[in-house]
Subunit: 373 residues, 2 copies
């Protein structure tokens, strides 16, 4: 079962509800990444308590270890991981590109190695693995390219991704006769607006239940907005839309304004482990510093919380001094606390965005966040 | 404020309540170790939710980093660490012995180095540091010896530990004029029952609010029982008694039976991180296997929980297969989940022990746990 209902509109921005057999996702939503079936350093109950409705796990990682057969034997990824709410898996297309060595792409699929071990993924096998893992929301298998790939290369690749989209959908329809899963088609097209538009027309003409935009990089103001904007004008308004791998604060404002509904990104969790805390505008967070505060030795005797204007359990309980101490001591609880804070930042941000859209005040909120200096 | 009230007796075993200004400790109690001010891999709220009334932090570690002045500036160790309930610190005596390099003991104190940096602790400085850290329950500064130290060496050392006990107490009385903290005297005497008895007489004659037995090693049946038993006959019944660094399951039964009230040990947390799960007798835990199950590759596709007879959140949510996957993937949540399970095992064990004492059934419970084969 899958449905998407738009509940409020504010310009092109909208709130909505994605319904799955594991519950609802209030949109716009940030989806924390649980690469190997766990949001790094957190337990499922902690992720849920932060207010997240869904997480996204990586198909290739789980295929490599423990393997989808084990996950299936354990009752599927929900039961295996202890996450009871809606669950996404990606298709593996991006991970083949980012992790695969000796990649050889042919029209049927991709052959590559991981730590020397030979691997192959095709649209069909990606669908089969994702079916076996059992997430609610899954993605078509596509080809990802270098950010700066030229137009000729991108054209060839796009034709292939389109053929793979058709094959992904066909395989999905066979596997998903019970309607348990929903499949997202992915718009590609590199850095070429005309190819992006072509992809938007092609993918939206297919029978995908929801849509995603892949391979968007760079500063939204100067680079990626020009790629996403024409795509959004073509895609059917009523379908849920995911922006893959995006999660900077200004990105989220830019793309919510265009009508994107969900976002996944490793940034808040990865930066947490590296000692970066996200901070709100009231505490000096702005586009220029990417809303980030790097821990420094000045935290050593600083009794303030990470962010005075943050209401998360970390900021209401612990000082910068304690976090610095844990960081220096390499205590495991350091990673947990920083991750809790950063994910709380994004959970709260998206909650504020949904509230602003409901009140018709999205532009005002955007101004407060990304247009102050 | 400090008080200890015995609430039930069952032979020499007893239940009781240690009261501090941060709340009560129901005894017998296992006290998890929070070496550097955090129980490794857990947050304070998780430790509290497991049912623990108190934790124990290490004075020497906190003295070295961040230093007691920082902890004091942050409002003391409770506020710094986010642990709101009763808190112990040790004296540093054992850590000087286990971590100090180039140790030179003189009658006034100990000079040593840590990572090349020169350090010195005396009874007075240990009391001052512990006062500054601000735990509720603190320990006198003593000298710890090798397990196999000979009688002559032990005699000299014991005389020194006794002199240091007197000095610890004198310094404590100056610092603790507000009565916020309570000081435990420590019985030493190595592996010589007569020296242990001498120490018990000497320390119990001093004005300590509670008592502890230090440097107990080895199998309780064949080695350490003979050292603790005569001591317990000498110590005044009404005082709370702590056994330092002890926490094997059979140790706990042996010493609760003799009237010990509290125990601290890194075993459940350290073994958790190494992949050992504590298991109950119903699941095959026994003295011979130390109530431990080592994770193995056989867990890979094992859908059972760590312990079928354990009601902890880990065992009711996650399979051995998932834990093995997290272990292989070196995910931080692996350490958290294993620690939660192992500490839950000890929390439940001590709860069952208290319940058995209240019903006059301690010997029966001991039989079920440590006398089956």
């Amino acid at each position: 079962m899958f449905s998407f209902t738009i509940t409020h509109r504010d310009g092109s921005a909208r709130t909505g509800i994605i319904s799955t057999s594991h519950g609802d996702i209030k949109t716009p939503a940030f989806i924390p990444v649980a690469t190997k079936g766990t949001v790094k350093s957190l337990l499922p109950e902690q992720v849920e308590a932060l207010g997240f409705d869904a997480i996204l796990a990586n198909t290739l990682h789980l295929h490599l270890q423990p393997g989808e057969a084990i996950v299936e034997k354990m009752g599927g990824l929900h039961s295996f991981s202890g996450w009871k709410k809606p669950l996404f898996t990606d298709s593996g297309g991006f991970q083949v590109f980012s992790l695969g060595e000796k990649r050889q792409v042919d029209d049927d699929g991709v052959t590559f190695t991981i730590n020397g071990s030979p691997q192959r993924l095709t649209p069909e096998s990606s669908m089969q693995i994702q079916r076996t893992l059992g997430a609610d929301l899954i993605f078509a298998f596509d080809e990802c390219l270098e950010k700066n790939a030229d137009e000729a290369t991108t054209k060839v690749s796009l034709a292939r991704s389109h053929a793979w989209a058709v094959r992904s959908l066909a395989e999905f329809k066979i596997l998903n006769s019970d309607g348990k899963q929903a499949l997202y088609g992915i718009i590609q097209g590199g850095r070429f607006p005309e190819l992006r538009a072509e992809s938007a027309r092609f993918i939206s003409a297919l029978d995908f239940e929801a849509l995603a935009i892949g391979s968007i990089f760079g500063n939204p103001k100067t680079e990626s907005l020009a790629l996403v904007q024409p795509v959004m004008k073509i895609l059917p308004e009523e379908k849920a839309k995911h922006l893959l791998g995006i999660g900077a604060v200004d990105d989220i404002f830019t793309y919510v304004e265009l009508g994107l509904d969900t976002f996944d990104c490793v940034l808040p969790t990865r930066l947490a482990r590296m000692g970066y805390a996200f901070i709100r505008p009231e505490s000096g967070g702005k586009v220029e510093n990417k809303f980030r505060l790097k821990m420094t030795a000045a935290f050593r005797d600083d009794g303030a919380p990470l962010d005075r204007h943050c209401a998360c359990t970390v900021c209401t309980t612990f000082s910068r001094s304690y976090l610095w101490h844990l960081h220096k001591a390499k205590e495991l609880s350091f990673y947990t606390l920083m991750t809790l804070h950063n994910l709380s930042f994004f959970s709260t941000l998206l909650e504020e965005i949904r509230g602003a859209i409901e009140k018709g005040e999205f532009v005002l909120l955007k101004k407060e966040w990304v247009e102050r200096t």
